[in-house]
């Protein structure tokens, strides 16, 4: 009896068991989307949109990091753009200073950002909820002021690598295999895909379960023996790492970095789009990145002011918070399904009445 039970349990745990149909469908959709992004998009799009899509890839990592914090653990950070700036700064400094291969630099930027983010996060984790969000806003504000004075490296000497009087500023280099814009787009999509994989692995495993418990109720998680501080820090570290890598990819994408491109208020917009996209699903991160980077590019092309977008984001936040807490990634399929059911019901009623009248 016991033997069969344990064998059944063993069979269930076996890694070779057939994955369920939704998982397969999901994997198929992801593979298809990746193939389209890697092979079809670079052929179809003009350089303008390829650049925009590269930014989408970069920002999908940033929104992913914030999404993990907000959606998985329930920690709201209003300073993620400052974290992105740290990643970009470290990557740019290393790219100017060394001839290391690009992936190594991305990794180093990620790790450096992770260390800094965790160091900042460590004291901040004493606070929760509203106060945590506000202290991250304060720290981001301080960092932005500092960055405006220190500036991004532009090939100068010294620790900060900034040369204010340089006339010819050298461009930040790209990996040799991806020097053209379409190639660099593919490169950033692959990096982003790896980061999503990293996040998904975390969510499926022990940290993900611990985060879910913490999000539900900290006292309950504590009672269940979960090390709250450790797992919160883990989430901060993961989000900072991903955002740092995004900063590294961004450095190569834009070639020149300026501190005015990382204002504190962008962190607020970032939180807005993450909430709109949906913080509880990884798809939400992609929706958010499209909202944040592709939509402005489209509007710019159509000659519509980007201010409309800011207004839209504001309304979006209010709508999400009052009526649809899981965001677009959750709401859109549900609404479509509801619409489908409604149409189907109408159709049935129609055919039914037709049949009845016959």
């Amino acid at each position: 009896m016991l033997d069969t039970a344990s064998r059944a349990a063993g069979r269930q745990r076996s890694p070779l068991r057939r994955p369920s149909t939704p998982t397969l469908v999901n994997a198929g959709v992801i593979a298809l989307l990746l193939l389209v992004a890697l092979l079809v998009l670079p052929q179809l799009l003009s350089l303008y949109y390829i650049d925009a899509m590269t930014q989408v890839a970069v920002y999908s990592m940033v929104t992913l990091g914030l999404g993990v914090l907000v959606g998985r653990v329930g920690l709201v950070s209003l300073g993620q753009v400052a974290v992105l700036a740290i990643g970009a700064w470290v990557a740019a400094r290393l790219l100017f200073a060394t001839a290391q291969p690009y992936p190594v630099i991305l990794l180093e930027a990620g790790v450096a950002t992770m260390v800094l983010g965790t160091l900042i996060g460590l004291p901040a984790l004493r606070l929760r909820g509203l106060y945590l969000a506000l202290i991250t806003l304060m720290l981001a504000g301080a960092l932005t002021v500092m960055l405006a004075t220190v500036n991004f490296p532009n090939g100068g000497h010294g620790f900060f690598g900034y040369n204010g009087s340089a006339v010819h500023i050298p461009a930040i280099r790209r990996p040799s295999i991806a020097s053209s814009d379409p190639a660099y787009f593919r490169y950033s999509v692959i990096v982003a895909a790896l980061m999503f994989l990293l996040a998904a692995l975390h969510i499926r495993a022990r940290p993900g379960r611990a985060w879910a418990a913490i999000r539900q109720s900290e006292p309950a998680a504590l009672a269940a023996g979960i090390n709250i501080t450790l797992y919160k820090l883990w989430a901060f570290a993961l989000a900072s790492f991903i955002t740092g890598v995004a900063g590294g990819v961004m450095a190569g994408a834009v070639h020149y970095l300026y501190s005015i491109n990382f204002p504190t208020q962008d962190s607020i917009t970032l939180l807005a789009v993450v909430l709109m996209g949906g913080a509880y699903s990884l798809w939400g991160a992609i929706v958010a990145a499209l909202l944040l980077q592709l939509l402005p590019a489209l509007l710019n092309n159509w000659g519509v002011s980007a201010d409309w977008l800011t207004i839209l984001f504001g309304i979006g936040v209010l709508q999400v918070l009052t009526t649809a807490p899981a965001g677009l990634a959750d709401q859109a399929p549900k609404d479509l399904a509801r619409l489908g059911r409604l149409l189907l019901g109408r159709l049935r009623k129609l055919t039914g009445s037709v049949r009845g009248s016959q």
């Binding site: 709201v76 004291p123 901040a124 004493r126 606070l127 929760r128 909820g129 509203l130 106060y131 969000a133 506000l134 202290i135 806003l137 304060m138 720290l139 504000g141 301080a142 002021v145 500092m146 405006a148 004075t149 900290e218 006292p219 504590l222 709250i228 204002p263 504190t264 208020q265 607020i268 917009t269 939180l271 807005a272 909430l275 002011s305 201010d307 409309w308 977008l309 800011t310 207004i311 839209l312 984001f313 504001g314 309304i315 979006g316 936040v317 209010l318 918070l321 009052t322």
Partner: protein, 297 residues
């Protein structure tokens, strides 16, 4: 190190700036106490009011009418927001309520950028009639606007303290800060008291917007996100004490301006509110995990 002489003018400007910060900080604290909402759109409302006043004044409206419109605009927008979004969010986490006001901030910011486009280098300015006159203390020129800045800060503290302690409405607000449900059970018209708090906070936002537009700059971005600096003062007071908010605001304004003449630190002076608030938040005693009160940290 600059001499004492160099610091003198910055004491005056620092006190004025601190007074204006105090105005914003107290507005935020009062609304938070009454409704549990950290009103992050405070700066945006004030900025838009100031821009409207600027447009009106340019169109030939007498100054006092333009300023009145600015102040009333702040009150009206804030009241409308509170009436529309207050009830559906009333039972949500303080964090959700605060983030929702960021939505309003973004809407107002977008509208401002759309209507008052930045015209290449040509800057707008609000000049209050109090800018011209003034007096000298020692060798330091003091304008009346600076006096008003500090006086407004002190005034708001005194008025709110008296209002909260000695009027019926103020007492109702304090009761609501303790417990909304019990207050409602005791027969206090909770919604009406909340409406008063929203309107009052909006009026303060309008006044602060006007003052800061004159003392700092009339620029949508600057004024909208100046709320982050004012918020620092409120945070140091843990969104609770009005007097501490005032003192913190004065300290922030003074330190910020006194760093200006110091060569090595002048570029970093804008960090003052953030650093002070971060330090203040971090040295707060650690909150036990189990308590889930209104003052959740």
């Amino acid at each position: 190190m600059p001499s004492w002489q160099d610091f003198q003018p910055f004491i005056v400007s620092g006190l004025a700036l601190g007074g204006a910060y105090a105005l914003s900080g107290v507005g935020i604290v009062v609304l938070y106490q009454a409704t549990g909402v950290v009103y992050l759109a405070f700066g945006a409302v004030g900025a838009m009011g100031a821009l409207i006043a600027w447009s009106l004044a340019n169109a030939g409206t007498p100054g006092w009418a333009a300023w009145l419109v600015c102040v009333l605009f702040g009150g009206a927008v804030t009241l409308a927001y509170g009436m529309i979004f207050g009830p559906p969010l009333a039972r949500r986490d303080p964090l959700v309520k605060a983030v929702a006001t960021l939505g309003l901030t973004l809407v107002l910011f977008g509208v401002m950028d759309l209507l008052w486009t930045t015209n290449g280098g040509q800057s707008r300015a609000i000049t209050l009639p109090t800018d011209g006159g003034g007096f000298t203390v020692g060798q330091v020129q003091v304008t009346w606007t600076q006096v008003i800045g500090l006086a407004a800060g002190i005034g708001i503290v005194v008025v709110t303290e008296v209002f909260l302690r000695h009027t019926k409405l103020g007492t109702a607000m304090r009761a609501m800060a303790n417990d909304r449900e019990i207050t409602a059970t005791l027969g206090v018209p909770v919604r009406r008291v909340e409406a008063a708090a929203w309107f009052g906070c909006g009026v303060i936002a309008g006044v602060a917007g006007l003052l800061l537009a004159d003392l700092v700059a009339l620029d949508a971005t600057t004024l909208t996100f100046l709320v982050i600096s004012s918020l620092a003062a409120a945070l140091i007071a843990r969104l609770r004490s009005i007097v501490v908010t005032f003192l913190a605001a004065i300290a922030i304004g003074l330190i910020h301006d006194l760093l200006t003449p110091i060569q090595s630190l002048t570029n970093y002076r804008d960090m003052t509110p953030f650093v002070l608030a971060a330090v203040a938040l971090l040295v707060l005693p650690r909150d036990p995990v189990i308590t889930r009160s209104r003052e959740e940290i």
